[in-house]
């Protein structure tokens, strides 16, 4: 017998979780199935809504006012500005560890690449790093962590014209950690003030770090470190460091595996749990039954095919990175339902010559109607009860626009709400 629910969400990233939470808040019985770790582990953990227009205009101060000017097929245009705002309000309600909701204006945050990027919401832990804040800044990196080279990032920020002085210093993380220690090892040591050996004496890692940071701070009132400051209790680690150092401490959003992304994922799963949802992870959805409606999908569990039935389905499997959109030498396709994905037959039309050119592949995905139902090549919904959310949607280049998180949250919110309403 099939496992039944009102709404079945396929995919556990930002879009899947947003739609599951939104559907659960509407009172539906929601189940979420997800395969591998979500791409949030590869994301910075910043929540962008819109940083640049498709024409490259930006950085935009107000992401909402640019929405009416976007191309017709852009997901934000399908939803409308108000829905995007509602979705962001839902995000603000369920994720209490983020800031930025006090204003419509984008923030600028330093990146590990030494630039600044526009974003709409940022974790508490990144807040003191705002680039519009004119207090001088000290960045500190660790010798064995080549992703964040503080002197280089500082020099680049200076070249970007930031309105403050910025210095970068590199130190050795206390204790004799292996040069390829994982970010979670740093995070755990700092969180537990775990023992490390410094000059033959055992010390707490956090205490020892404070001792190394203290002499580096001159007049700066804020210090930025790589995003390894704690895992489950990042706020506690930051508070402890700030109390000892007497300055504000922030994390610079990171490379994969990204702790800020993981923390956000954890927080959203908690929120979904609190809203009464169920989730299962580790196994892929591989096929389905149904003609005009999706009746049942099948999850592949150690070669058994387990049926899951629902009244409404949300496809939030991601884009090319998350494998919600796949390709071979001739085709681009959506692998579960084989929903139509528009693409040129010649794969040499899929990309631009310049590394940051206008890449058609960045826009690969399903094109939906205003209810977010994927459309077939003739423009009719593929299925009455299947909606799509997040990067599986085409019609936008999230990387160029800096709109990935916003599109996932807004389309997830909308798809989840419509699915729940329909199911009841």
């Amino acid at each position: 017998m099939a496992i039944e629910s009102d709404v079945l969400v396929i995919g556990g990233g930002l879009a899947g979780l947003s739609s599951a939470i939104s559907a659960a808040r509407e009172g539906a019985d929601v189940r979420l199935v997800t395969y591998k770790q979500s791409t949030l582990r590869q994301a910075s953990g910043l929540i962008d809504v819109l940083g640049y227009t498709p024409d490259g205009e930006g950085p935009l101060t107000d992401p909402y006012s640019a929405i009416p000017e976007l191309p017709d097929e852009h997901p934000y245009r399908l939803l409308g500005e108000d829905t995007v705002r509602e979705a962001m309000s839902m995000f603000d309600e369920v994720v209490d560890t983020y800031r930025g909701g006090h204003t419509d204006t984008n923030a600028l945050l330093p990146t590990y690449g030494g630039t600044v990027k526009p974003t709409a919401r940022y974790p508490d832990g990144a807040a003191a790093g705002l680039a519009s804040d004119d207090r001088d800044l000290l960045l500190v990196g660790f010798e064995a962590m080549p992703d964040f080279d503080a002197p280089h990032v500082a020099a680049h920020l200076e070249a970007a014209g930031v309105p403050f002085d910025v210095r970068g210093e590199t130190i050795q993380f206390p204790g004799d950690l292996q040069d390829d220690a994982k970010v979670t090892r740093y995070a755990k040591l700092l969180e537990k003030n775990g023992p490390v050996e410094v000059r033959g004496r055992e010390r707490g890692a956090r205490d020892a770090l404070v001792e190394r940071l203290n002499p580096l701070i001159e007049d700066e009132k804020r210090v930025g470190l790589p995003a390894v400051l704690g895992d489950a209790d990042a706020a506690g680690v930051r508070a402890a460091l700030e109390a000892e150092l007497g300055v504000e401490v922030f994390e610079v959003p990171a490379t994969p595996p990204s702790l800020p992304g993981v923390r956000l994922e954890d927080r959203l799963f908690e929120a979904f749990d609190e809203a009464g949802g169920n989730f299962e992870s580790g196994n892929p959805v591989v096929s389905f039954d149904g003609q005009n409606r999706v009746e049942t999908v099948y999850v592949d569990k150690q070669s058994a095919r387990i049926p899951y039935s629902a009244d409404q389905f949300v496809l939030a499997t991601g884009g090319l990175v998350g494998k919600g959109v796949e390709s071979d030498r001739e085709h681009v396709y959506e692998p579960i339902f084989d929903c139509h994905v528009e693409h040129s037959e010649d794969r040499y039309d899929w990309f631009d010559e310049a590394v940051f050119g206008d890449h058609p592949f960045a826009g690969f995905g399903v094109d939906p109607d205003t209810e977010l139902r994927p459309l077939d090549s003739g423009g009719s919904p593929e299925f009455e009860n299947l909606r799509a959310a997040g990067s599986v949607l085409g019609g936008h280049d999230f990387a160029a626009e800096k709109s990935g998180s916003g599109v996932s949250i807004a389309t997830g919110y909308h798809a989840g709400r419509l699915a729940a309403q329909e199911a009841q």
Binding site: S44, T61, H102, Y112, T115, S132, A144, E158, E242, R347
Partner: protein, 582 residues
Amino acid sequence: MASTPHVVVIGGGSTGIGIARDLAMRDLDVTLVEQGNLTHGTTGRMHGLLHSGGRYAVSDQASAKECIQENRVLRDIASHCVEMTGGMFVKRPEDSEEYFQKKLDGCRECDIPAEVISGEEARKREPHLAKDIDKAIAVPDGAIDPFRLVVANAASAEQHGARIETHSPVTDLLIEDGEVVGVEVEHKSGPGIRVHGTEGGTEEIRADYVVNASGAWAGQIGDMADVDIEVRPSKGVMTIMNIRQVDTVINRCRPKGDADIVVPHETTAILGTTDEEVEDPEDYPEEQWEVDLMIDTLKELVPMLDEARTIRSFWGVRPLYEPPDVGSEDPTDITRDFFLLDHEERDDLPGMTSIVGGKFTTYRLMAEKISDHVCEQFGIERECRTADEPLPGSEDFSVLRDYMEEFGLRSPVGRRSVERLGSRADEVLTTDDPNPVICECEGVTRAEVQDAIEQSGSDLNAVRIRTRASMGNCQGGMCVHRLASELHEANVDGETFDETVAREAWDELLQERWKGQRHALWGQQLSQAMLNYALHATTQNRDNDPADGEPIDFAAFDAGADASGEPGGADVAADGGERDGY
């Protein structure tokens, strides 16, 4: 004439660098000039096959004999650049029995060790070979790293007093009284040790003799002296797989044709190739059909290639040459032999010889013959020593050591570093500082990257060819910014590189890595490309780097909500806005 003749060699590929080393070892005064990086032209764009000679055993036995001879020499003098994988000529049912026999006879006539094995035995050695392969001839083919080889030759040449100038294209030949007396080069601008002479300026380098070893560009150099050198550049594609589907070189045993070889190379396998004449060695079409042809034809030998992941494709041009009056229609008919064009004899222009044609495996032998010719011009008799003296990195080197203990590296990373560095491993990897992995795909650590920067300065592409950093699955997606940071932190003899230099080198490498990847954009590599794009554009915002663009009005952006209650919060600038999200 001076007792130490000064020779200018044009071209920093295997031939030019081999000549520079040879002449320097014979105590001549040598300057080598190269328009780009070392290996910029043909040498850096080959499949890395160390020929056994088997490939030429039917069509060109003189070349085949040279190949097996040099194959043995290189195993000796360049052991850290060579992996003796072994090779096979495999016969499919539709391939001719007669040719198989000719190939076998040819190998034996040329003293190439050759053994016939059954299809079953061939599949035992290479389990992914097609089930219907009849039989094969096993030969001592190998893989060789052309970058490492050329860099080692350059290092040796420098140790013997040679001056090596990269990024210095020849803009003119100096001709006085009907004789070539030197070259004029332009030093491309850009700070760092790659700049000599005047930055961005020109330099006249006077010489007693000039050797034109510029390969497919030889004709362009000839034009500067109004002499005709009819090089016929012929392009070939090579497609790189993300893993080694085979561990030995697989050749198809048939007369000639496109897409007939798979070479295991480091962590990858390289599929090759096509052979098509082009007009201009710098500018020719790179087309989809060529890539598809590699996969669709070679899957007849190794079926899993059909579904495998390719990480990029690249094209190279062969500097083919045939004496006037032969007139081959098809470039595959043109000999792979080399020709020494003494312009005094040929064009009544003393002071210069051009070297054209030839092939990578016999680069050392070619260099020896040309160096003999140069010495002859001066009536000097000095013995060539390049076949006996190991290259730097290959002296007294036995690979098996306890890397983890010795250098504090994880075993696979240590093994790969030591294999790349050969006998230089101690010198490079022994450090008291943390030595984290910079490129995870290829296991390249900070010490190795810093060593490469010491050799090549601000050019991250040159760092790449020395270390293999950014050449794995992710094609630099995860390490290009780290390499740029290593450059920013480097100190080469007191010289440092500022942020602008690091940024330019970073952009250049990112674009270079993109160039080849474009030919592999489907399946997993398209997914990887999207991830790279997202990391660079979304997470780093490198596509809108404010340092390269319009100034930003920082004050117009969110200055933060009131953060009171946080330590240090009293200093936070509040914008007075409402907080409605908490």
